[in-house]
């Protein structure tokens, strides 16, 4: 009965509504806003990648942006190396394209690597953390430290990454010889977004997703039942890393620029805030959080950048203190509780009162 009631929650409707809005948006929005919204869709995909990890399996990755950034940098380097040695490298006296960029000159291979590289990093990191007996909080601080170190490393390796300036002037996607229009880009992002959403939904509602939730809720009981939690954690960590890498790649053609800011702690913090505010564990919260906050950010931070960051911190604090399940989680809880109350007859209607009185009467009669 519990499962049935969960299934008719409002989250599905919110998802459909959100996607319907996104499909219709280019009809009403200006080109500038459409471009902004395509970034929003990329962020939604990025948020989904963390939600299947944190929401389902309870693994709060404090450095999720490292996967986003790795995917982005792979594709950016591939674009930059297409016409020989890029300018930022030539400035350091590099005359030949280094070996790892020769591989990336093959664009389809680079796109594949943009997901494989983050996946491998997640796999190695996950192997060492999950098969070890370290306590839960170590996962958080190790991922945070790694994200911060990777950011410093990319800043430091100016020769190959363009340092703090990043890599700029990246081209949009071209089909044939014509570059895609902004609207075409938008619908491409949206199509990928819908596919990722459907994949995540299938994943979290499958048997695998159910086991992930039990990893989150009671790992030792799962172990007693003969499962190996480490294997499940590792798998979801790799999948999550690959999706984040995918979103990082999608970011390149619409933003045409990537810098260490996209790989480090600050960006990892942003995605945490989206999930914390939206609510986690039901995909909808992640999407709503990412959508609302990035849209507000691009509107507000144009004018008040300082105040915006302060607001973001305050919003996060308020949500953690008062709505730990986030906006969507709180809404679903409220709806669920109301439904239960109604079914149990706790919401007093005239009918239920009568029923109880008659029950009482029959019981009395029997005595």
């Amino acid at each position: 009965m519990m499962k049935e009631m969960k299934n008719i929650g409002w989250d599905k409707y919110i998802d459909v509504l959100l996607f319907a809005f996104l499909i219709g948006f280019p009809l009403v929005g200006s080109l500038f806003r459409v471009e902004m919204m395509s970034k929003c869709i990329v962020y939604i995909i990025f948020a989904l990648s963390l939600d299947i990890l944190w929401g389902s399996a309870g693994l709060m990755n404090l450095g999720q942006a490292m996967f986003f950034g790795l995917g982005g940098y792979v594709l950016a380097l591939s674009y930059a190396a297409r016409d020989g040695v890029p300018a930022f490298m030539a400035g350091f006296g590099v005359t030949e394209v280094p070996w790892f960029m020769q591989i990336l000159q093959n664009t389809p291979l680079a796109v594949l690597l943009g997901m494989v590289v983050p996946g491998v990093v997640a796999g190695l990191l996950g192997y060492f953390i999950f098969t070890s007996k370290v306590k839960g909080v170590f996962f958080n601080i190790i991922t945070l430290s790694l994200a911060s170190l990777i950011e410093m490393f990319f800043n430091n390796q100016q020769k190959y990454t363009g340092g703090a300036n990043g890599i700029s002037g990246l081209p949009p996607i071209t089909i044939g010889s014509e570059p895609l229009s902004i609207t075409a880009h938008y619908y491409l992002m949206l199509a990928v977004g819908v596919l990722v959403y459907l994949f995540c939904r299938w994943l979290t509602h499958s048997r695998f997703g159910m086991i992930l939730r039990s990893v989150r809720d009671n790992e030792s009981r799962l172990q007693f039942l003969g499962f190996n939690p480490a294997a499940f954690k590792l798998t979801i960590f790799v999948i999550s890393g690959m999706i984040a890498g995918l979103s990082g790649m999608l970011y390149i053609p619409i933003h045409s620029f990537i810098s260490p800011g996209n790989i480090g702690v600050a960006f990892s913090t942003s995605v945490l805030v989206w999930l914390a505010v939206g609510g986690r564990g039901n995909l909808t919260g992640a999407m709503v959080g990412a959508f609302l906050i990035t849209w507000m950010e691009s509107l507000l931070s144009e004018q008040f950048e300082n105040v915006w960051l302060l607001l973001l911190g305050a919003a996060m604090l308020a949500v953690v203190m008062f709505f730990p399940k986030g906006l969507v989680g709180t809404l679903l809880d409220w709806q669920y509780n109301r439904k239960i109350d109604r079914q149990m007859g706790l919401v007093q209607t005239d009918d239920s009162v009568e029923l109880r009185e008659s029950d009482f009467a029959t019981a009395k009669g029997k005595v």
Binding site: F138, S145, N306, L317
Partner: protein, 286 residues
């Protein structure tokens, strides 16, 4: 060879700073199971206090150290009472809340004092040379302060009534409560103590590094690495692992870039904790 020796001597003063940075984290986590993500911002605030006390108001450096400790300890009390206490036992929520707090504190400081670097002069100029290797007096001072703090913390833990209560709460919270220990008070005082140590670390860092709003996130990563290697809840382990990490990074940094050295050390630590999850320097298991 000379580079190796001079780098390892440098490494000692870096270890001293790292030890003071990480100690607060360890004390707070060991007692309350709280990872304070805003620890870096406490360091930053300590550094700003030092900037104002020494550069703006021209008080001696010792006054700055003391006031950095007091200001951050007070802030710690306020935060513990208003925030941490309400989230007790919820690990993810405390992480998020202190994370949010770190954004807020950093942004407040940036808005109040501007994003640009502030400079704090060295409290003691001069250096002496030992067999051709130049050692600044301040580095010796740093090491002395770190040893002093180590001794003071150990004394506090093992020689005072407060320390005894604190250790009792760490070992078995509910039992300690039954025996009449006021655990809420111990929590608050410990959090204040850890925050104060962060502020003190900020004061000591300020003269040798630049003081800016985002400096905290840089130091907290080093602190985390130390804690991972040394094991949570062990003061001696923290001391040992900060020496190991700083020495290896500083010595390597003589030959390759500091960041690359740090990344290498990090990777080694990840592999090590696979085989020694309780940290390298803790023998007892709870």
């Amino acid at each position: 060879m000379e580079l190796l020796i001079s780098q390892s001597i440098n490494g000692l003063s870096v270890s001293a700073m790292l030890f003071i940075t990480a100690l607060g984290l360890v004390i707070i986590f060991g007692l309350m199971d709280v990872v304070n993500m805003a620890h870096g911002e406490f360091i930053m605030i300590g550094a700003y206090v030092t900037y104002f006390v020494t550069t703006v108001f021209h008080f001696p450096f010792l006054v700055a150290m003391l006031s950095a400790f007091l200001v951050t300890a007070l802030l710690g009390i306020v935060i513990e009472v208003t925030l941490i206490k309400r989230l007790y036992g919820k690990v993810a929520e405390t992480l998020l809340a202190t994370f949010a707090l770190s954004i807020i504190l950093q942004q407040l400081v940036r808005m109040a004092f501007g994003p640009e670097d502030k400079f704090v002069g060295l409290p003691m100029e001069g250096s002496f040379s030992l067999q051709g290797i130049v050692i600044p007096h301040y580095n010796v001072f740093l090491i002395a302060v770190a040893l002093g703090i180590l001794a003071a913390t150990l004394a506090l833990f093992y020689k005072t009534g407060f320390g005894m209560q604190l250790r009792a709460v760490t070992k078995n919270r509910s039992m300690a409560q039954c025996l009449g220990v006021n655990t809420a008070r111990i929590d608050t005082l410990t959090f204040a103590c850890g925050s104060g140590l962060a502020g003190l670390a900020g004061a000591l860092i300020a003269p040798v590094k630049s003081v800016m709003p985002s400096m905290g996130s840089y130091y907290i990563v080093d602190g985390f690495l130390t804690v991972v290697l040394g094991g949570f809840a062990s003061i001696a382990g923290t001391a040992a692992s900060s020496v190991v990490i700083s020495e290896s990074v500083t010595v390597m940094a003589g030959y390759i870039s500091e960041i690359t050295a740090k990344v290498l050390v990090f990777l080694i630590i990840i592999v090590l904790i696979r085989f020694k999850p309780e940290g390298l320097f803790t023998s007892e298991k709870r």
